[in-house]
């Protein structure tokens, strides 16, 4: 009994930390409608700043808590800088571009933190006077965690007062419902947005700063916390503060007791709960269906045209080069060529659902990884040859796509992006935690091609053949009845259904088909590297795919090909020329979104 109580208390402590971060994220989303990926980076910065301040200031109660509060306020200021420099300019851009821009900020902050604080884990001092533990019915419970629970409650109360009792709070709540109307009533939304960003960022910073006495400060904190915060915010309902509190409690307890009951799947469990909630209540526990005042008139996309004279000639020339050129290339160039081919298929598969399908996936890496792991597992555990692995991969990834897609294609916009992300995180957590089968973080090694494909030249030809073939097949589907139905439901789901198209089934099948081709790309990737790691399905790889598609233009057929080549080339060059390649890449992403807020390359209309 006392054991359960202690477990519940530690669940409350993690709920308190989660709430601080999620509250900021949900308030920012509610008003600005931006899903801020960089919120985890602000949390991380809060922790680093608190570490520096607390170790630099003299010991004692006042300097410690002063340092924590100062770190939170500084983080708030950093959030305002990000809002003014980047986000303020893209409030009208499509959701995915906003998500990408904030991911650009994540990359920049990662490299900045690395440059300032170094790669090692930093252990900060314990909170003065709170080092010990208290006795709870005979069990020991850390005093600091008890204080943390208290702080969570106090912050909740203060936020409640702010939102109920001040003009700022009333305006924030009004803007969450209908920000255009608030503007028409004479309220300058800029200040409201900036104020909300300060508040949300300071809360994230506070959450990070309060972790310093509990755990080490490191460079992985940002993506670790943002996934959890997304879960809390989405489960609670995007934009709902009470929802965030409720969901934080739920997730905190789930983690605390999940460890007792299912110690091996704690990570999966959280995302599983999120998936279940979204299926039952698509807008979260306390969320509302997004308002009908978006005043946007969506126009149908222009019809796609097949290739004509000159286009055919260029493609034919490129194909001839792919056949003729490889024997003259060195091993390194051949490896790059294989990787380019794989990137093209991966991008084309995502493009298939985004462009003609009109769906967004923020978790396409799941299917790439599913293919890679399926092939690697067959080789490792069944001693299957490469050919079997390559054949099985698209089926395995397609099955995963059928399963995940069944839930994801029902939603749209941010909600669908969040759900695809959640499923990708389930896949990632499985690879990470199921050590017996997947080797966990150590991955699966020795995934080599069959003898004939070991030479780099042979493998390059194999990759080219399969990837270009796959890309061509996807293109064929776009011009087949299935493709017409897909494009019809994108432009108007209602009209498509009225002429007898089962929009759900079309979207679902397209999703699975895209997953299958991503899986083929993943398997080729695995055999090319000779190994598979959980990073194959981590968030950055999903972002890679999105960038390739957006770079090339969503509503063009050649877009993903060009985007994949440009992005992979850019990536290679950046890694070669600068140690700060993440920051450089992040800056480029931000610049692209800022200067092409309505879509890149002028291909996508507003």
């Amino acid at each position: 009994m006392s054991h359960l109580l202690v477990q519940g208390l530690s669940g409350l402590a993690s709920a308190a930390s989660l709430f601080l971060v999620a509250a900021g994220l949900t308030v920012i989303f509610g008003v600005t409608r931006i899903v801020n990926f960089a919120h985890g980076s602000l949390y991380m910065l809060g922790a680093y700043l608190a570490y520096s301040l607390v170790t630099w200031l003299p010991r004692g109660h006042f300097p410690f808590w002063g340092g924590v509060v100062l770190a939170a306020l500084l983080t708030g200021v950093i959030g305002v800088v990000v809002e003014v420099l980047v986000l303020r300019r893209i409030y009208k851009a499509p959701e995915l571009f906003q998500l990408l821009a904030t991911f650009g900020v994540v990359l920049v902050v990662q490299d900045l933190a690395l440059a300032v604080w170094g790669p090692q884990d930093l252990l900060g001092p314990r909170a003065p006077g709170l080092r010990g533990a208290v006795d709870v019915l005979g069990e020991r419970f850390p005093l600091y965690d008890l204080v943390l629970i208290g702080i969570g409650g106090v912050v909740l109360l203060l936020l409640w007062l702010l939102f109920q009792r001040t003009r700022f709070g009333v305006l924030v709540r009004a803007a969450t419902a209908d920000r255009e109307m608030v503007g028409a009533l004479g309220v300058n939304q800029r200040w409201l947005f900036t104020g909300v960003f300060f508040l949300g960022s300071a809360l994230a910073g506070l959450g990070g700063a309060l972790q310093v006495p509990r755990e080490s400060v490191n460079l992985n904190m940002d993506l670790a916390i943002i996934s959890e915060a997304f879960v809390v915010v989405v489960v609670g309902g995007l934009g709902s503060l009470p929802g965030a509190a409720l969901a934080a409690l739920l997730i905190g307890q789930l983690q605390a007791f999940g460890i007792l009951v299912f110690p091996r799947i704690t990570l999966v469990l959280v995302f599983l709960v999120m998936a279940v909630v979204l299926v039952v209540r698509p807008y979260g526990l306390l969320g509302k269906r997004p308002g009908g005042h978006a005043a946007s008139v969506t126009l149908p996309e222009p019809p796609l045209a097949g290739l004509t004279g000159r286009g055919r000639a260029v493609v034919a020339l490129a194909l001839v080069l792919c056949v003729v050129l490889p024997p003259f290339l060195g091993d390194y160039a051949l490896v790059v060529l294989s990787e380019l081919a794989i990137a093209v298929l991966f991008a084309a598969s995502l493009h298939f659902i985004m462009g003609p399908g009109g769906m967004a996936s923020f978790g396409h890496a799941a299917y790439f990884g599913a293919g890679a792991y399926a092939a690697a597992l067959l080789v490792k555990h069944a001693a299957a040859p490469m050919e079997v692995g390559l054949l099985a991969a698209p089926f395995a990834a397609g099955l995963v796509g059928l399963l995940f897609g069944f839930f994801c294609v029902r939603l749209s916009g941010v909600y669908s992006a969040m759900l695809t992300l959640a499923f990708a995180q389930i896949a990632w957590s499985t690879a990470f935690q199921w050590v017996e089968v997947t080797g966990g973080d150590n991955g699966i090694l020795g995934v080599w091609p069959s003898a004939w494909a070991v030479p780099k030249l042979a493998y390059a030809y194999l990759s080219l053949a399969l990837c270009l073939g796959g890309t061509w097949l996807l293109r064929r589907v776009i011009f087949a009845p299935m493709g017409y139905a897909l494009r019809a439901q994108r432009d108007s789901a209602l009209r498509a259904e009225a002429i007898g198209i089962d929009a759900f089934k079309v979207r679902w099948l397209a999703f699975a088909l895209a997953a299958a081709f991503a899986g083929l790309a993943g398997a080729l990737f695995a055999f090319g590297k000779g190994s598979v790691f959980p990073t194959t399905m981590a968030i950055p790889r999903s972002v890679d795919a999105l960038l390739m598609v957006l770079l090339g233009g969503v509503q063009t057929l050649i877009g993903p090909v060009i985007g994949a080549l440009a992005y992979t080339g850019l990536h290679e060059q950046l890694v070669r020329v600068t140690e700060l390649w993440r920051a450089a890449l992040g800056a480029i992403i931000i610049a692209l979104v800022l200067f092409f807020p309505r879509g890149l390359a002028g291909f996508r209309r507003a």
Partner: protein, 233 residues
């Protein structure tokens, strides 16, 4: 007081306003009449900056306001009451009114929650009620009151009688006349001709994004040809 000159606006590729021109004099109630889809609401949204005008000039109290942000236009003294009311459903009556509150203007008696409740006594009894749990008529009163809290010199009132019971429509007419008596100018959009006649001094009839007829309300009531051409269904 408010001059609209050659105003154009688009929704996507659709050309909704094709050069609307009209003038609202100080202290008058000016009604914009026209059939469904003629461009009445879009004219109001374009004046307010909610739909960016693609061409044309809007002058209010001597300032050019076309192309400015809605909040700046509101602060210049132009109030907007949307057709669909756009009450903040989760906020109480008082909180809704608070959202509209702006600084008092020189030479004007400032609006307050109490004053709004004097104008619409039925709101006084429900100051703590969430906007989402009010009847259509109550919401209409609240949305007008919310805009008045910004102490406007002129209000754009988009179809205030739509979907309301006749007794409430009468009360709306009385409220508009009371506001006019205080010196407030009103640009009203209406489909209900008898309501418009009861409150308006002058009228402009809009069709396919252009003003086709303009004159006093009395002149319109005697000009049966114009009514038949532009208003009868």
């Amino acid at each position: 007081m408010l001059t609209v000159d050659g105003l154009h606006a688009h929704y996507g590729r659709a050309h909704i306003l094709d050069g609307v021109s009209l003038t609202v004099e100080p202290g008058e109630v000016h009604v914009l009449l026209g059939r469904n889809g003629a461009g009445k609401s879009t004219t109001m949204k374009a004046i307010m900056g909610l739909v960016p005008p693609s061409a044309g000039r809007v002058t209010f109290l001597g300032q050019a306001i076309a192309g400015r942000a809605p909040f700046e236009i509101a602060r210049a003294g132009l109030g907007y009451v949307p057709e669909d009311r756009r009450i903040f459903a989760e906020l109480t009556v008082e909180e809704n009114l608070e959202c509209g509150r702006q600084k008092p203007r020189d030479g004007q008696r400032p609006w307050s929650v109490e004053r709004v409740c004097e104008l619409f006594p039925s709101l006084a009894a429900m100051r703590r009620r969430p906007g989402g749990r009010m009847s259509g008529g109550e919401q209409q009163m609240l949305t007008i009151g919310r805009t008045l809290m910004g102490n406007p010199r002129l209000i754009l009132l988009d179809e205030p009688s739509e979907g309301l019971a006749p007794v409430i429509v009468e009360r709306m007419a009385a409220a508009i006349l009371a506001l006019k008596a205080e010196g407030l100018s009103v640009l009203l959009s209406e489909q209900n001709l008898s309501f418009a006649y009861a409150v308006s001094d002058r009228a402009s009839i809009i069709e396919k994004g252009v003003v086709r007829w303009g004159g006093t309300m009395a002149a319109l009531m005697t000009d049966e040809a114009a009514r038949r051409a532009y208003l009868s269904v």
